[in-house]
Symmetry: C2
Subunit: 322 residues, 2 copies
Amino acid sequence: MGLALFSTIEPQMREVSQILVDTLKSDNPLVALVADFVLAASGKQLRPALVLLASQFGEQTAQTRQNTVWVAAAAEMIHMATLIHDDIIDEATIRRGQQAVRSRFSDPVAVLAGDYLFAQAFRLFARTGQPEIIALAAKVVEVMCVGEIAQHLDQGRVATEAEYWQRIEAKTGFFLEASCRLGGLASQAADGVRDVLGRFGHHIGLAFQVVDDLLDWLADPQKLGKAVGGDLAEGTYTLPIIYALQTESYRARVEGHLRSPDPALGMQGLRALLAESGALDYSRRQAEHHVREALSVVASLPSGQARDSLRNLADFVLAREY
Amino acid sequence: MGLALFSTIEPQMREVSQILVDTLKSDNPLVALVADFVLAASGKQLRPALVLLASQFGEQTAQTRQNTVWVAAAAEMIHMATLIHDDIIDEATIRRGQQAVRSRFSDPVAVLAGDYLFAQAFRLFARTGQPEIIALAAKVVEVMCVGEIAQHLDQGRVATEAEYWQRIEAKTGFFLEASCRLGGLASQAADGVRDVLGRFGHHIGLAFQVVDDLLDWLADPQKLGKAVGGDLAEGTYTLPIIYALQTESYRARVEGHLRSPDPALGMQGLRALLAESGALDYSRRQAEHHVREALSVVASLPSGQARDSLRNLADFVLAREY
């Protein structure tokens, strides 16, 4: 989808896809069945795209190019593993418009498939021979898990807006920051350049997640592959809801909807209420703010096609409709 | 417990315990709660013991000693992660005589706690700066997952004895082989020595698992921390059952027990039947065979305290009662 428009990294994105296929293939027909199913549900591949785009600011040797595509593929495998495990946690049945792994097979197979992907990802990271890459990748998983464990043991309480930002930083911001840093490490980019790339990724990550949470209310359910208000139905309060609950004149009505005995009917009404309260506009402005920050960060990088492609990515984050 | 008797590695085993505590501590009180619970349920620590025992055949520099304790701790963390995830898969409520993580908290927390342990383990492996260590550790997880995925998608069918050996190789044999090899890698032992250590670990692993499966029928349930025949109750057919089903004159009676409407009552009768059929003796002889193989393998290593400690370990595998 969208990200294929980055012509500068198209050949490497194809290599990444091939590495995923090669790494996950198995002699065992049952394992191969699971691997094929997982690969068929491929998404936007934002993380490998960021690894590759960031690597354009480092060295371009045969070794750095090889390490970069390995790291890009491994980052996507970490992402796939967390999605498969998230679906167990959320008891989700649909992922990217398809059956979730746990629905197609079972929770046990989903636990194991995620673990298998984690292991294969770390094998790929290890092939670079760069321990700092492995350490950063492990930190990504750690940050996501710690954030989610805390959230799960603290359920039933509506988060504050500050907690929302902490949560999406742990869930997406840090991973996208790390994807950029990993591209810098794999390509032996200078420390200062890696920091700039990391800050770009951080803001892109926050913007991406805010848009994601907004699309949960605004996107065409056909394109998005899940129902309107799906996050809320799974018990996750995102920025639009949190904002509306913060707004004195809307709190009572939003709370009324949240207690609605018919959630399916309630979601349309709630969406209208979120629009009226300004919560959707507020979320949009927050996403725009972080995209602006990302664009401002990259201004310090050398101009050229590589920097243009980061800017295109930033624009894509706001423009996407699903 | 038992393994502390290896006085040569006692100081390092204490270091390993300290690394586990330090690595899992968290500023987040909820995450710390999970970490404390996980650490309190500590087991035999066979894998770190093997890493440390094997490392005695390599170099003894400050660097190799440091790498060895990191690798030993990381191997235990991989093991802890797989146990926590296995309990989700088996819907187990008790682990090592305590509540399982999924029972104390929830399945989502158990999924995340396992992922967190995997990530922290790979961070520790990465600290060695030895990519071949990370690659082997990842292979361990891969082998275990592939074995279990295949088993889960093929449930309800009674395995053959050949399949039983394949399964326990994937579940335990390869991990214990790899633990020995990891000790060799961390201590820069020669290739040939690492191969010998690996073969020792392989046989110890098979013997250990056969004894484990036997103790499921023979051990004092108080000491073992679970009920007699617990594996069968979870749907896992181990060697005693597989052997008895292979034995013409017992098959019908064992099958009758397996269809028993009262599994709790049936387990005692089934145990008597397994004893009478020679299935328990057969399992014992298989364990003894693999311990003999392990002892024969280490004969090629230089004599001394290090080799004696491997022999002590082999004896321990047969002597343990829970």
